[in-house]
Amino acid sequence: MVGEIRIENVYKSFKNSDPAKEDLVALNGFSLDIKAGSFVSLIGPSGCGKSTLLRIIGGLDKATEGKIFVDDKEIKKPGSDRGFAFQGSNLFPWLTVEKNIAFGLKARHIYKDHKKDVEEYIKLVGLTGFEKSYPHQLSGGMQQRASLARALVGHPNVLLLDEPLGALDAFTRMNLQDEILNIWKEHDMTMVMVTHDVDEAIYMSDYVVVMSARPSKVEAIMKIDLPRPRARAQDTFQEYRTKILKVLDLGGKVEDIEYYL
């Protein structure tokens, strides 16, 4: 199994644009081990640094201090061992679906030997027949599928998902959740997903990492001990949900609101 991630004491601060003011601390000594082949969700309040953490794993940002290893290799910059699915599809609008998916292979000059992979992934995400379409001709869900295929076609060991389904409607979203899980099962990879959606996190993950507000650290790691495939409407779901909301300190607010009514 490959795709093990070790996050060691990562500290990340952003320089304030006003040099007189203090730096903004996003991550304050964050440590986490992610087992190879697992599906982990990062959840937490807005601005808690979960996206920052994901970007550091992806090599897009540098940790101010601390180290991250993927399969015992220290992360310094983006690499083909890690795929990254961004918020929104972010397909290149000037390329067709096919060329968008082939972009990484071409950039790495390995397209000739992997032409088959492009076809395979187009099929896998159900976009056969849309190879020559431009992104603006596709629906939001289809764009997101193409974007997933683009991140996956280079066979990364780790797929990092930054709220990939945030912009989609509920039905498309559920569909794509299942498709991502299928890909995850079939391709033996580690997936780390940042999400705002507690239900999504419970439905998809082996572990849900609940992060606290800035400067953030791990508040709780919750193992979701439910058999797969999971049913969305089950009672145990509610228990996990209550637990997570409590950790996030949102569980008790319902009564407060009643008081005002």
Partner: protein, 320 residues
């Protein structure tokens, strides 16, 4: 049935207009001030228009696209013929306008026909000058724009310089260019290139700077090198903006072309207009204007055809 009959009637409108034009041409007495031409060129022109439209409509019987265009354009076409009739009526049948400055259509069309080779030579000279200046302007403008947009250091030092030099109207450079460059021709090429350079530079660099950063992040995570990113992300993403720059540049290059040709050149269509004006031959001035309109419009049409090919992925920004 009735509406279909009416639609077919539309196709006869241009012929009705031509018939009226001919009646006016031959039956209404002239003002006697216009110089007579050897041939009734305006009549020939009307007949050619009529035959052309007929051929178009006949092809339309077999081709539905052309048929649609024929129906759609028939009223407009009629309008053009009526406008010409109006012009001809005022200039040859009345004394409303001084005939010296407003020659008859016979004379303008006749001048184009009789001097076609000389005019063609001047058109080619203009095109040569425009083409050279355009190519220099676009290529240098593109490269400067790329450097300004992509590199923060180049941008820091050169953006202010561009902002000061760029907006100076090209014509203001004429004295300097004429004294700096070895030949008038090279000075003119420089001036036209300059007119194209600034908008292309500006639109290229601002196009690149306004690319959402996530495009570069995506390409980085997919393993693209910096060079690959410039060629395959920065340039295509900025292409719509670059094309706008080329469009603005082309339009301003026309103005510059006229200015430099009227200044010390001894060929080209701008020079021809100036020369005709100085000898009080206003039919030549109008002929020149018509030719320039045709050249500029043709150039822009070609430009937009290229854009439609390159930017198929983009939904229209400017309609042409």
């Amino acid at each position: 049935m009735k509406s279909k009959g009416l639609a077919v009637l539309k196709l006869f409108l241009p012929y009705l207009a031509i018939a009226v034009s001919l009646l006016v041409y031959f039956l209404v007495p002239g003002n006697g001030k216009q110089k007579q031409t050897d041939h009734p060129y305006y009549v020939y022109f009307l007949l050619i228009l009529g035959v052309g439209f007929l051929v178009f409509a006949l092809v339309g019987i077999f081709n539905s696209n052309i048929r649609k265009t024929a129906f759609e354009k028939a009223p407009f076409f009629t309008g053009v013929i009526i406008f010409l009739l109006f012009l001809n009526f005022i200039t040859t049948k009345t004394l409303l306008l001084p005939t010296l400055y407003f020659p008859s259509l016979d004379r303008i069309i006749g001048l184009i026909v009789e001097n076609k080779w000389f005019l063609l030579k001047n058109v080619l000279d203009s095109f040569g000058l425009l083409g050279k200046g355009f190519l220099w302007g676009v290529s240098v403008g593109f490269l400067t724009g790329l450097a300004l947009g992509y590199s923060k250091h180049v941008g820091y030092w050169l953006t202010p310089v561009t902002k000061v030099i760029g907006p100076i109207p090209t014509t203001a450079w004429i004295p300097l260019a004429l004294s700096t460059f070895p030949t008038t021709q090279s000075a003119n090429v420089f001036l036209i290139a300059f007119a194209v350079w600034f908008p292309v530079t500006l639109m290229t660099s601002s196009g690149i700077q306004s690319i959402p950063n996530v495009n570069f992040e995506v390409s980085k995570t997919l393993g693209a090198s910096t060079f690959y990113q410039i060629v395959h992300v920065a340039i295509p993403a900025a292409m719509p903006s670059i094309f706008l720059g080329i469009f603005y540049g082309t339009v301003s290059s026309f103005a510059t072309l006229m200015a430099v040709e009227m200044n010390g050149n001894s060929s080209g269509i701008g020079w021809y207009i100036n020369w005709q004006k100085s000898v009080m031959m206003y039919d030549g001035v109008y002929a020149g204007l018509i030719i320039i309109a045709a050249i500029c419009s043709l150039t822009l049409t070609i430009l937009f055809k290229v854009r439609d090919k390159v930017l198929v992925w983009q939904k229209g920004v400017i309609k042409w």
